[in-house]
Amino acid sequence: MMIETRKLGKIYHLGKTGYRALDDVNIAIDEGEMVAVTGPSGSGKSTLMHILGCLDTPDEGEYLLAGENVARISGDRLAAIRNRRIGFVFQSFNLLPRLTALENVELPLLYAAQNHPGTAAAKALEKVGLAQRMSHEPNQLSGGQRQRVAIARAIVTNPAIILADEPTGNLDSKMGDEILALFRQLNREGRTIIIVTHEEYVAGHCGRQIRIRDGKVV
């Protein structure tokens, strides 16, 4: 099992009343799967993604990432897990302005204290088909190209899991298709891919769907 959660729960406190964002969530995702997490807004899918991505920790239950329980660890160790095991792709790309494509892709390697970030970053950019655009800054690239740079950044540390939050939300359908094709290719190479989306069309490209409603898996 690449990802397994047991009775996962998350409670937000708004004044005196607690609000249960996640309640008894049990999911299991195998290595090499491509899974869509769907649900209407406010369903708790973002909270789930944050926990699966180790950006947040659950209040209840266990989260086993490749067999290791990461539900109770925090801070720098969590940052290290994000760095090595998880690649993030965001809806709004979140590239750093003023840095070139290559420098953006190098960033995760900097925090991994790797010696030659340039070569690995260049390879990642080649893989997403942007070998010719390495020295371009984000504002010189199209939306689709920016998302490819973001994907290159997500795979540069060679993580087992890619976590994408509405990766096609800011793209037109042609560019969106290209990005989905890229995810499928990465999936064929053995990476576990989780896409959070509310579009049926995107979810349809994934092997399996996990539907969330009111903080529960349905």
Binding site: L55, G75, A79, R82, F90, L96, L99
Partner: protein, 401 residues
């Protein structure tokens, strides 16, 4: 790693050139002020020291009246006599020379020009003891002294005021309506603050005592100490001798006091040091204000780049990586500001030297101090914004618009 962080920091500074410059401005002005004020203080110290040592340092100055540092000293004490000076020279070991002096303010006159100046009745030794040098002419001979000759050596201020560009040597003028012949002109020494050795006329002391001032007591005895003798030891011997001569009982205060040139040097040194600290202290306040300016800009920067911080954390930056990045940016701002401030301080010190009478000296240690302090200001005032950045919650930061 460090290089990329540095590059990111520099790029973000360059992207907001105007803002970065404004943030640096406080530090630039602060460091500039510290450098130029310390240069001014150091220059003043050197100047004062030069002038004091130009009066001779191995000197004891005996004056009539008790020590005014302990109370009020009466102005006309007639206790110090010529025989006291002779006794000091004859009986005390370690004394190389003595100069009995009488002084008074008096009117000097040359045709229509007249002024008030200090008349010093002195022996020949006075000129060498006080390191006076002649610009032109000669000093008086011992024959002239012994015969109370009416010859005078004029100081620079007197020469300029009475004679203008004319050469005073060889001219005749009047001191208190007594005719004198000018035989020499002193080289200028510069104002010492408490008295101006250039505003003076030197005449033989017998002439002064009998013909000009008309007093049989001395205003001062300068005692030059032999090389290698301790000033305070000789001072004690002189005190003992004079107490004896003046018949002062054990329980009575002395009717004279002795000033030690080394003491005066130490006092002036301490004073100018305090002056330098004061100037530097006031200037460093602006450095603190500059630091607050940096903190302000860094807080704005952190808020503006919240999303960037979120992204960095999502891809694996630890809190200390973020802290280090923003701290480095603050240090770069204050460091660059410090460098520019050194340039500004140098320019300011240089123009003070050029356009005013003050001397300025920039010491290496004040430059090193400024670099260290500006880096420290960067760390101190950059720490709070940087730690705010480091503590941001990644999820909140990623959501920030």
């Amino acid at each position: 790693m460090l290089w990329i962080i540095l590059k990111v920091a520099l790029k973000s500074l360059l992207a907001n050139k105007m803002r970065s410059l404004l943030a640096m401005l406080g530090i630039i002005i602060g460091v500039g002020a510290v450098i130029s004020m310390l240069a001014l203080g150091t220059g003043a110290k050197k100047q004062v020291m030069q002038r004091i040592t130009s009066m001779g340092t191995n000197l004891l100055i005996v004056r009539p009246g008790g020590d005014y540092r302990k109370g009020i000293r009466s102005t006309t004490v007639e206790t110090l006599k010529l025989t006291d000076a002779e006794a000091i020279l004859d009986k005390i070991e370690g004394v190389e020379a003595v100069a009995p002096l009488v002084t008074a303010r008096a009117q000097v006159k040359y045709f229509n020009e007249n002024m008030n100046t200090t008349i010093t009745g002195a022996p020949l030794t006075y000129i060498t003891m006080r390191n006076f040098e002649l610009e032109k002419g000669r000093v008086f001979t011992s024959v002239e002294k012994d015969h109370s000759a009416r010859v005078a050596i004029v100081g620079n201020v007197v020469a300029e005021q009475l004679f203008g560009s004319q050469d005073p040597v060889g001219e005749r003028f009047r001191i208190k309506n007594v005719n004198f012949r000018i035989i020499g002109r002193l080289k200028a020494k510069g104002d010492q603050g408490w008295f101006n050795p250039d505003d003076m006329v030197i005449i033989p002391y017998p002439t002064a005592m009998k013909q000009v001032i008309g007093q049989d007591f001395l205003n001062e005895i300068d005692v030059k100490i032999k090389e290698g003798m301790k000033l305070d030891k000789v001072e004690k011997r002189i005190t003992r001798l004079l107490r004896q001569r003046h018949r002062i009982r054990m329980d009575e205060e002395e009717d004279f006091h002795i000033r030690n040139m080394a003491e005066i040097v130490a006092m002036a040194s301490q004073f100018t040091q305090t002056f330098t600290f004061l100037l530097g202290g006031i200037a460093s306040i602006s450095l603190i204000v500059g630091g607050i300016g940096i903190m302000n800009i860094m807080l704005v920067t952190v808020t503006e780049r919240t999303r960037e911080i979120g992204v960095r954390k999502a891809i694996g930056a630890r809190n200390r990586d973020i802290l280090r990045q923003f701290l480095l940016e603050a240090i770069i701002i204050s460091g660059l500001g410090g460098l520019m401030g050194i340039g500004l301080g140098y320019a300011a010190a240089e123009s003070i030297r050029q356009f005013t009478a003050y001397q300025t000296i920039i010491e290496l240690r004040s430059i090193l101090l400024s670099i260290t302090v500006s880096a420290a200001v960067g760390i101190f005032f950059g720490y709070y914004p940087a730690s705010r950045a480091a503590k941001l919650d990644p999820i909140e930061a990623l959501r920030y618009e």
